[in-house]
């Protein structure tokens, strides 16, 4: 069974750093893209970026380029989404997804809720 299991909810202060994770199982981790999608409270889905675990080929949305970093450790089938300095506007639910291509996301993680408040 394909599963993407994300790390738990986080409560952070503005300016703090954060790295959340997404562990894939039940499939060949290196043969599919891993995407990250943001959903702010009460809002729609936003495509943030993707990484191909086999060669770490990474693409970012212009809206998120320079704001976050996507990485992967294929030895443990885990992808990461990282911030160096969180802002209040980073609040939301963050989903990792498995991609057959850069947009065809066929499996989704349960989401990681990030709260940023002073």
């Amino acid at each position: 069974e394909v599963q993407l299991v994300q790390s738990g909810a986080e409560v952070k202060k503005p300016g703090e750093s954060l790295k959340i994770s997404c562990k894939g199982s039940g499939y060949s981790f290196t043969n599919f893209w891993i995407g990250w999608v943001r959903q702010m409270p009460g809002k729609g889905l936003e495509w943030m970026g993707i990484i191909y675990p086999s060669d770490s080929d990474t693409r970012y949305s212009p809206s998120f380029q320079g704001q976050v970093s996507i990485s992967v450790d294929k030895s443990i089938s885990t992808a990461y989404l990282q911030w160096t300095s969180l802002k209040a506007s980073d609040i939301g639910m963050y989903y990792c997804t498995r991609g057959r291509d850069q947009v065809e996301f066929d499996y989704w993680g349960q989401g990681t809720l990030i709260t940023v408040s002073s």
Binding site: G35, V37, G44, L45, E46, W47, I50, R59, Y60, S61, P62, Y95, R100, D101, Q102, V103, E104, F105, D106, W108, G109, Q110, G111
Partner: protein, 110 residues
Amino acid sequence: QSVLTQPPSVSAAPGQKVTISCSGGISNIGNNHVHWFQQLPGTAPKLLIRDTSKRPSGIPDRFSGSKSGTSATLVITGLRTGDEADYYCAAWDNSLSSGVFGGGTKLTVL
């Protein structure tokens, strides 16, 4: 402002048919596949239609997708109350070199 434009809401009665549109441009829908996602309240999105018109395993044939030019359409027939959800279209955008989602459409089954 989303690159792909969807109506904010649609509604129909149980058993009826509803169509959800997704309007884009040459750089996205016009030259790439469209995918549709269903997000039930409080849950993660689910892939509903892939490659514009294909249904993943387990998706009933009440759901169908199509595309014409720079617009795509999701059609749901035989509506059920369990279909109440937010629906999103998505495509790759060649100009942005990025994926893009529509703003989402909330379906209400009256």
